[in-house]
Amino acid sequence: MSTATALSDGFVVAKRNLIKIKRVPDMIVFTTMSPIMFILLFAYVFGGAIDQQGGGEGYREFLIAGIFAQTVVFGATVTGAGLADDIKKGIIDRFRSLPMSPSAVLFGRTLSDVANNVIVLVVMGLTGLLVGWRIRTSFEEALLGFLLLLLFAYAISWVMAWVGMLVPSPEVVNNASFMVIFPLTFVANTFVPLETLPGPLQTFAEWNPVSAVTQAARDLCGNPNPNPAAPEPTSWALQNPEIYTILWAAVVLLIFVPLSNAQYRRSTSR
């Protein structure tokens, strides 16, 4: 099967998923509502306390990139839940009996989830602007920051695709991934400056790819650490957050694209 066929089949599948976003707007509303809620809660509930620590007014500006990262990671669970649902409803059985490219379903699924994340990022960016977040660099740099966020989420999507085909129902995808995603997105520099974390957690957070992508987004949007006296990051990952993010995404894709494709070829309902 040629690459062109795989691409065009993938677009057909992606279009199908995007129609669903249009028909079930609740889904996109809820996936954007919770990050908006996070922005407001963190900015106004924790924000005050964190400002007291001497950070100044910058916490809200600092926070937004962290919430971007957290949200796109959570957005990736849609990939797994969507696939698990399609398997349960026998739609994957139908796709697998068609003479279409076997990789098109996963390619289309992950592609439409990128579109999903773009919509969510736009909504959150606007909310961020309302509470005081600003882009202090050039348009190109900020765009690069957003592209890194999307690349990172795309890699996680492929992990979630694999999980979604292994578990028996879409609900399990959500529950299982929350167990992993919450610590991953909280033990990081997403909501608090790293130097406030205790020793072992700080080391974990320094190498946590969520920290790197957050740091990259922050740097590229020009959002400073609210604590001007904060030490420079010591880990290579945070000194080179853009490169680390790209490397990390590449490794994940190299492992999970073939793994997910192999699992797809074995998936049947029941």
């Binding site: 057909v12 409803k89 009996s97 068609l98």
Partner: protein
């Protein structure tokens, strides 16, 4: 296997074996669907019907055995098989958030029919399956019967020469079932080769040219509906008497007419007499009962159904495979 069989058979399966962990779903299954004919695969839940369909439609690999669809080996060239088949399953695999039209159009695109042809084919099929009015509504709003028709339409998008329908009417109400049968009869008349699985004996009788009865992953009988019925014997005279106390007497009166022992179903006040000779026996039986002054509520002559066939072959009915062992009544009818 000779070359001519390769050409004339739409589906051939030989010795298919499939295990799911400890469970043996298929235990050496053989099937053959000659070109342009309908094979009914009949069996209770868990007999291995769906597993067989999944292997033949390239969704599962068999542990042993071989199968060809339209002359193409399902294991060696699954992609080739997929260009020749249409599949519709027991769970209507339609996307409920897409309209009927969008569902069919998407399938057409994935068969690589091209944009224009896909759209045209989608409209044609919606009309053929009387879904044209609902075609631009989300499938979510469809009734069970409509979804099933849409799913079947999906299987026909590319006009495949070989069609697999896995329990196409399971769970449908009687009216939708009859509608579905009409649709399938239309396809068959147009010369499509069809493998149909069903739990409904009536359905196999009505739609299939040949029937295989499978149980525990193995074919236990095959033939036309008539041949299978012949295995069970001739007709049965069914008489229900008004007064339960006179059953024993009725049995004595009717026994000379039977070609085998009369079976009594006490709580239904009915007697089953295996007979030959048709309507004249029926008249004779009524005369004899009348002569003894035994009143009759109901009387009928029936040919054995495929239910009787199943019962004779397996010792349990299609629907009641679990509890059949303990049900003496059913066992008695089978003998």
């Amino acid at each position: 296997m000779t070359v001519s069989r390769l050409v004339t058979d739409a589906v051939i399966a030989e010795g298919l074996v499939k295990h799911y962990k400890e469970v043996k779903a298929l235990d050496g299954l053989d099937l053959r669907v000659p070109q342009g004919s309908v094979l009914g695969v009949l069996g209770p839940n868990g007999a291995g019907k769906t597993t067989a369909v999944r292997i033949l439609t390239t969704l599962l690999k068999p542990d042993a055995g071989r199968a060809q669809v339209a002359g193409i080996d399902v294991v060696e060239d699954p992609a080739g098989v997929r260009t020749k088949i249409g599949v519709s399953g027991q769970y209507a695999a339609v996307d409920e958030y897409l309209t009927g039209f969008e569902n069919l159009d998407m399938i057409g695109r994935l068969y690589h029919l091209g944009r224009k042809r896909s759209q045209q084919r989608a409209r044609e099929l919606l009309e053929q399956f009387r879904l044209d009015e609902a075609g631009d509504r989300m499938a979510k709003t469809y009734s069970g019967g409509m979804r099933r028709r849409l799913d079947l339409a999906g299987a026909l998008v590319a006009d495949p020469p070989v069609l697999f329908l896995d329990e196409p009417t399971t769970g449908l109400d009687p009216r939708s079932r009859t509608e579905m049968w009409d649709v399938i009869k239309g396809l068959v008349a147009a010369g499509t080769s069809l493998l149909l699985t069903t739990q409904y004996l009536e359905e196999a009788d009505l739609l299939a040219d040949n029937i295989v009865v499978i149980d525990h992953g193995l074919v236990i009988a095959e033939g036309t509906a008539d041949q299978l019925k012949a295995q069970v014997g001739g007709e049965r005279l069914e008489i229900t008497v008004s007064d339960a106390t006179r059953i024993a007497q009725a049995r004595k009166v009717l026994q000379p007419l039977g070609v085998g022992p009369v079976v009594v179903e006490e709580h239904q006040r009915s007697l089953l007499v295996p007979v030959t000779g048709g309507a004249s026996v029926l008249a004779d039986a009524l005369r004899r009962l009348d002569g003894e002054g035994i009143e009759v509520d109901d009387v009928g002559l029936r040919r054995p159904t495929l239910d009787d066939v199943f019962l004779t072959l397996t010792g349990h009915t299609a629907e009641e495979s679990e509890q059949a062992e303990s049900d003496d009544q059913l066992e008695e009818v089978a003998r």
